[in-house]
Amino acid sequence: MIQLVPRTGASGLWQVATPVLAVLATMLTGGLLFALLGHDPVAAIRTIFWDPLFGMAASYSRPQLLVKAAPLILIASGLAVGFRAGIWNIGAEGQYIIGGITGAGVALALHPLDAFWIFPAMVLAGLAGGWAWGMIPALLRNWFGASEILVSLMLVYVAQRVAAWMAFGPMKNPEGFGFPGSRNLQQYPSASNPELFANTGAHWGVFAALAAVVATWVLMSRHIRGFHIRAAGTAPRAARFAGVRPQVLVAFCLGLSGALAGAAGLFEVAGPAGQVTDKLGVGYGFTAIIVAFLGRLHPVGILLAGLLLALTYIGGELAQLTMQLPAASVQVFQGMLLFFLLGFDILTRFRIVRRVRA
């Protein structure tokens, strides 16, 4: 009889090996899928995984990986801290949207003032907006015991409607001929978040994402609070005896992940996206949850997972462009990749043992 036995510590070898296995399995089944659709499977896989990195136009698509991965990594780093403690913020999408709105709101209120402090003020406003949106589920959990999973998810829907309201109402561009959407912040130098070095894709959000990776790594491995978080996640009762105050932890984790998601929203609105529209939330907040898990809730893992997902997005577009693969088949392919990664993950946490019944 085959049994699963939990490993005492996560296996180092399998931690590295399973993502590789999962990617290989996806390539195989995905290749099969593409072959069934009448496309050359090898070319399809190469287009998705190889060409964005080393293909013809790689000098453009490589930096774009950073642009696409930065918000994912920034959000996922914050989420992972909470997930480690068993605090489930699945409303990062809402915090992202609100952060984008509060941050952009500062710029739109000051327009057309030209001052060096506007962008920093926007970043602070974005952090604050996301933090505040994240604190709602934290406080409701602390005061009333309401599930933060559900409250944070509900607040995503509310945030989406706030974005629509803003785009059609208070934040509508007065020079936009009645069309919805705010002014474009890319055209407002004091407020924009441009590419800082030509052809690197690196805007402030990319640096913020890297900083978040380092900071959460330090927090989790070097700081007493990181110890508390890990303790709360693995042995909640023991953690309480060790002096961990769960309420503080809930507020800290939701506030932190909310603030980082809010910052991601701001960097996106002031940079690549440019304006507040009703479609401000494009799903980064949800995708980041997947990134956090694929990255094993570890900062370095999240960095790699964010880049991997960004690669499939950009490679998927390339596959549409060069091979005329339908967008839907690329989505199916991404779904498969996630399934395999999530499925194979069991090997890192459990040993498979054959047992003979006594």
Binding site: G178, L196, P272
Partner: protein, 358 residues
């Protein structure tokens, strides 16, 4: 510093694409980005028919590619750049939300020509094009005014933007012309495509006593609801022939093919230049789908006469005397609306009692 990085980036990108673009006999590459999937049966589907018409017209002389389901904002900018890098010399961006991304990308690729649908920003290598949907609305408004027995016609709007408001006004003016007692009920779905909500909107109108439904949203749900209630409606964007002869008694079709064929031809000849095109029935860009036998012959003849008069340029759907809904004068006797007025239209004409949401 920001401007310099932008220019440096542009130079590097241009250098990157210059090499493969040298060959002479290569077919002209034409790219399209779509906001929805080609299978949406509406807006994007019609643009893709236009693309297919280009292929059919020029055969080996052109090579077309498309990227579908591109979210508006940052992803659009990347998709446009990918198309330019892949050697496309003419790129059609087929959604209003692609406006700023198109302008940004066009600045980096001065030798690539861009066409942006429904926007108002142009550059030396960015032209804009749009269709005078309100001309078609005048025709179906006439049919609606004749066909209604309850003297109440309903209109499902997507978003309160000038294009949609033009359509509401145009159909109301012409319905009233043939039926002075007609009333117009307007419902905003706040979506271009949300079948369930469009069905609810249609049902709400039907409950209000409406027996003719006009829609400026893309799904067939309102037609299905109309059928249930014994009311009639019109195909929108595409012909929606599956619902003929009733409830679909006619349709207003976006036909982009003539424009796409013309513009591609101009690039092939080297005569392309940036301009703003706003074509209507006369240019074949707005078509009235077959008026079915559910419509009495004299009404059909009347509608077709109006269609032909508009097409021949003998009649403008917005011809005075017309007042605004608040009672102020808009157009004097015989005066026609200017394009500028129409493109920023944010008021109803006299007789519509609803208010435009602000």
């Amino acid at each position: 510093m920001k401007r310099r990085t932008l220019l440096a980036g542009a130079a590097a990108l241009s250098a990157l694409i210059a090499a493969p673009a040298m060959a002479q006999d290569e077919p002209l590459k034409v790219g399209f980005i779509y906001v929805g999937p080609v299978g949406d049966g509406g807006w994007t589907y019609q643009h893709d028919l236009g693309r297919q018409a280009v292929e059919a017209e020029y055969g080996d002389r052109v090579e077309t590619t498309f990227i579908e389901s591109v979210p508006e904002g940052a992803d659009a900018e990347r998709a446009l750049t990918q198309l330019a890098l892949a050697g496309n010399k003419l790129i059609f961006a087929t959604s209003f939300g692609f406006m700023d991304p198109t302008i940004n990308v066009a600045a980096k690729f001065p030798d690539v020509k861009f066409e942006h649908a429904t926007g108002y920003k142009r550059a030396d290598n960015v032209a804009t094009y749009d269709a005078r949907f309100y001309e078609g609305r005048a025709v179906i408004g006439t049919i609606a005014g004749r066909m209604t027995e309850s003297n109440k016609i309903g209109y499902i709007g997507s978003f309160p933007i000038p294009e949609v408001i033009q359509g509401i006004n145009s159909s109301f003016i012409h319905a009233q012309k043939v039926n002075p007692d007609v009333e117009m009920k307007v419902v905003w779905a706040y979506s271009w495509f949300d079948p369930a909500k469009e069905a609810d909107a249609a049902a709400a109108l039907l409950a209000e006593g409406v027996d003719v439904i006009l829609q400026h949203t893309d799904s067939t749900a309102p037609l299905a609801k109309a059928q249930e209630a014994g009311a009639i409606g019109f195909g929108q964007a595409s012909d929606m022939a599956a619902f003929a002869p009733s409830p679909r008694v006619a349709s207003i079709i976006d036909n982009w093919a003539p424009y796409y064929v013309e513009r591609v031809g101009e690039v092939l000849d080297g005569t392309w230049e940036s301009k703003a095109t706003w074509a209507g029935i006369g240019d074949g860009e707005v078509e009235i789908g077959e008026i079915t036998e559910a419509v009495p012959a004299e009404v059909k003849a009347e509608a077709e006469a109006l269609r032909d008069a508009i097409g021949a340029g003998e009649y403008h759907p917005f011809t005075g005397p017309l007042n605004k809904a608040d009672g102020t004068a808009w157009l004097a006797e015989g005066e026609t609306a200017s394009d500028e007025d129409l493109q920023s239209m944010n008021f109803y004409v006299e007789g519509i009692t609803a208010q435009i949401p602000q």
